[in-house]
Symmetry: C2
Subunit: 99 residues, 2 copies
Amino acid sequence: MGSIVVDVMLKPEILDPQGQAVAGALPRLGFDGFTDVRQGKRFVLTVDGDVTDEHLAAAREAAEKLLSNPVIEDVVAVHVLDEQAAAAEGSGEAEDGEQ
Amino acid sequence: MGSIVVDVMLKPEILDPQGQAVAGALPRLGFDGFTDVRQGKRFVLTVDGDVTDEHLAAAREAAEKLLSNPVIEDVVAVHVLDEQAAAAEGSGEAEDGEQ
């Protein structure tokens, strides 16, 4: 069972009030050093069996047509979720590797 | 200028109506082959200069304390956004690499 991750973020020129709220709350909780926060969406699409190029192509098309609003959002990534990360996700463990 | 990505998803046992709505819409738009969809949040935290281990540690703590609700959500990933991906994100191009 494979999974595809689609990351969608507001375009840089679009105001992000949710991100601003987080950016304002961080220093109040003692987290300094962050200059900006943007909040976006992350979709995990599950497929039967392994992820094929057809699945990825369908996910890319769905990302543009259904998962994002191209007027205000960008699809910033469409990639296969590796199995190790998926296992961690299922068990609730954080994955800390660099992308 | 570095960025840290925090990915937050609903726990597997928590109902995800947004994901279900997407999963229901996909076949209506001709996208078959996806068996499940889950929708989560993606935060991009920007820091001045390069991302240090202190920044990453602060981001991990903020992810647990502010960016997620530990009762219903898991922090599935905290990682440095690589510069190439960040540039693509800024220019609105999709990044299609595997994770």
